[in-house]
Amino acid sequence: MGSFLETLLGGLMVGMLYSLIALGFVLIYKASGVFNFAQGAMVLFAALAMARFAEWIPRLTGLNNKLIDNSIAFAGAVLVMIVLAWLIQKLVLARLVNQDGITLLMATLGITYVLEGSGQALFGNDIYKIDIGMPKEPVFILEKTFEGGLLINKEDLYAAVIAAVLVALLALFFQKTATGRALRAVADDHQAAQSIGIPLNRIWVIVWSVAGVVALVAGVIWGSKLGVQFSLSLVALKALPVVILGGLTSIPGAIIGGLVIGVGEKLSEIYIGPHLGGGIEIWFAYVLALAFLLVRPQGLFGEKIIDRV
């Protein structure tokens, strides 16, 4: 029982990270119809930037206050991601308007490679730690409920909180700010949005920036848990089944989907894995999503597509 709950919680933690990455996908897809394969690479890129900045700043400035260093580094990383978003929009997407989905997808594949290559070229290709001073020591809860209680990492709790806050902020951003509303309008209908004078290009830069920041946060959390390294961009591929499950255009879908996959993955690994020779994590998410596709192509929360002739 206890171990079950622990696995469950562990799953939720991982799932939450998936959700964060998936969130990036959904934002971009909603706004620009681009299936951004590069989201994973963006996570890696952002995390690398953050990690290295945090490392360089003390050397440059000489002041050794973790908080300041980290915040400067974070700010720097945010800046980097915004510039990146702008570059991507300017150099790639602006030149591929009205292309069909597959072309755009392949373009983002190209971007993936550029990011991975340049990211490592700029920031190095070792394993880097991000230390934002999250407490590492585990805590036991529910000791009364059953003996031994549950072991969880404070760190994970913090991470969960951060993620939650981020999601909340995004929600606010979309509901309250003018830009947010503009974004929603664009997501609903490009032509219409354009006709009422919403500058698509700027909107798209914003969206990519936001997605970049989300990627950064995801990267930071992940990095502080397991360190920043190339494999991060592959882990991010896990977010694909998540969006499929949740529906390409649904933010709640992304979150729920992420949690479902995270949990499903862990549980299956524990309870089914052994019978199949273990390591089924790497495909379980996909097969789950795939199976789901056949039943409900538009995903949990996605809206049905009617193509008119």
Partner: protein, 354 residues
Amino acid sequence: MLYRENGQFKTTYRADQQIFPILQDRIAIALLLVVAFVVVPLVADAYTLRAILIPFLILSLAALGLNILVGYCGQISLGTGAFMAVGAYAAYNFMVRFDGMPLLAAMLLGGLMSTIVGVLFGIPSLRIKGLYLAVATLAAQFFADWAFLRVPFFTNNSSSGSVSVPSLSVFGMEIESPAHKYLFCLAIVCVFALLAKNLVRGHLGREWMAIRDMDVAAEVIGIRPVYAKLTAFAVSSFIVGVAGVLWGFVYLGSWEPAAFSIDRSFQLLFMVIIGGLGSIMGSFFGAAFIVLLPLFLNRVPTLLGIPISVSAASHLEFMIFGSLIVFFLIVEPHGLARLWSTGKEKLRLWPFPH
């Protein structure tokens, strides 16, 4: 400029529909074949054959297979590596489990297996559009990675997890020397290229392209998307599977699942994009390009006296590939093959610009 087409008129449809209707092209291709089959084996050294030409040929074949799916039928696939793996492991199992199994037979059976798996993972494509399909094929990729790593049956319970094949022979001829291997691959590639060309210029090929270009219109003229897409998956993964067999048996000799990882899938997709979507010849261009670029990156800087580390080179490679993909998608979606054919058109119209 080199073309002299006056008097090359066609009096039969057969003549009009041949692959190379222009005499000068037929001559050129004939020369190319002579060089490939006769001259190269005589002059090329072992390294060139082993490290450049053989991988080039095999990857061309795989790219060709992928091109049928992506370029001709418009169905994206990120799982090509998996289908290569299926081919390779299937063939391996046939070889080791049935003794006396001839290489060619094993190869075709490997292709067949890959076909079955391909169609299996293609089925979602009937319900879902491109983006989702990408995920479906990715699933295939990861599933294969896992299966060949974790399921001992596939590796015939080899302890190390890596498999290696016995010496190869076709019709009693040993295929040992690089030259032999090269010729073997070359022969197979030529045959499949021809068959593929025939398919894409036949009505099946037109069905694929119709689905790719305008699926509703295609349905209205009686083309069944199910059939068109599944045949594309089948043919594609068969060829890819065979390529997988060659990759494992001829090029590697012994291999681990990593040999067919997702990177391979991407690499092949890039070949298709850079070489030219929807062009048989493009597959060869793409393969050549992607095989040669790393060599180029490793040599040139040192030659220029600015040696760069291996890792730097690989990062550079990543960036160059990435930007090239974007570049081609933006500037010339039909890749090198289109550049080639425009060049050819210019030659035909010379001295006129158009």
